[in-house]
């Protein structure tokens, strides 16, 4: 199946690509896709950032199974101002609330 991968900010720069379609096995998870990207884009391997994951613009867990045509975004720590550590718990509560 085909999925569209969106990379942003430092990830985009390290990969040298921000928007590409990848062929992956059926039932691939977000985490498996991320590991695969480390092979495709050497600049991404070994990154120790805490990432968030979105499929079709909704945050998901890394174990989320992908479907054909999904748009998968790898979201490095966001910040509109002074550096603030991402509050994973808040994000996860949010994800729970919106299903």
């Amino acid at each position: 199946m085909k999925v569209r991968v969106k990379l942003f900010a430092m990830l985009r720069e390290r990969a040298g690509a921000g928007d590409a379609v990848h062929e992956v096995p059926d039932g691939f998870t977000v985490n498996e896709l991320w590991n695969r990207l480390g092979d495709v884009y050497p600049g991404l391997s070994g990154i120790d950032l805490k990432l968030l994951y979105a499929v079709n613009s909704e945050y998901v867990e890394r174990g989320h199974r992908l479907a054909d045509g999904d748009e998968v975004a790898f979201i490095p720590p966001v910040s509109g101002g002074s550096p603030v550590p991402v509050d994973r718990q808040a994000v996860e509560r949010r994800m729970t609330c919106t299903g």
């Binding site: 900010a9 430092m10 613009s57 975004a73 490095p76 966001v78 101002g81 002074s82 603030v84 994000v91």
Partner: protein
């Protein structure tokens, strides 16, 4: 109104959007490019967003605030691209019948925006560039 723009933001546009005869209070927040950060002399900031999802998450902040406090309307506009010193990268306006709700919802919106709305900031300072928000900042400095 929840939108991204690559032009300077006008607060009066947000005020017009949240104005209401029943609103006795409006709280606004403006985030602007500072000339320094952690000892670095800043030249400008570059913002990048995940379009579509960013606006959706901004709107969600408004919905969440409306569940928590009695507010009338909220507007958030975030600038994308290069933002020089002294210019605004984000403006938030919240109207409410009373001020307590307006202040709390405005504070909530900016705090949550910085945690989970997919917008990134690259600092262009004298001597280099760095993405803000990376836990291991220097590794993502670009020459």
């Amino acid at each position: 109104m929840y939108r991204l723009t690559d032009k300077p933001i006008e607060l009066n546009e947000l005020l017009a959007c949240v104005g209401d005869p029943g609103a006795g209070a409006v709280s606004t927040f403006i985030g602007a490019t500072r000339d320094n950060n952690e000892g670095r002399s800043i030249i400008s900031l570059d913002y990048e967003a995940y379009p579509g999802m960013a606006e959706q998450e901004l709107a969600r902040l408004g919905e969440e605030a409306a569940e928590k406090w009695e507010i009338t309307r909220m507007a958030i506009v975030h600038r994308i691209g290069n933002v020089p010193i002294g210019e605004a990268s984000v403006m938030i306006a919240v109207s409410a019948p009373h001020r307590d709700a307006a202040f709390k919802a405005c504070r909530y919106a900016i705090d949550e925006l910085k945690k989970r709305v997919p917008i990134w900031k690259k600092e262009i300072y004298e001597g280099g560039e760095i993405w803000i928000g990376s836990q291991s900042g220097q590794r993502f400095a670009t020459p």
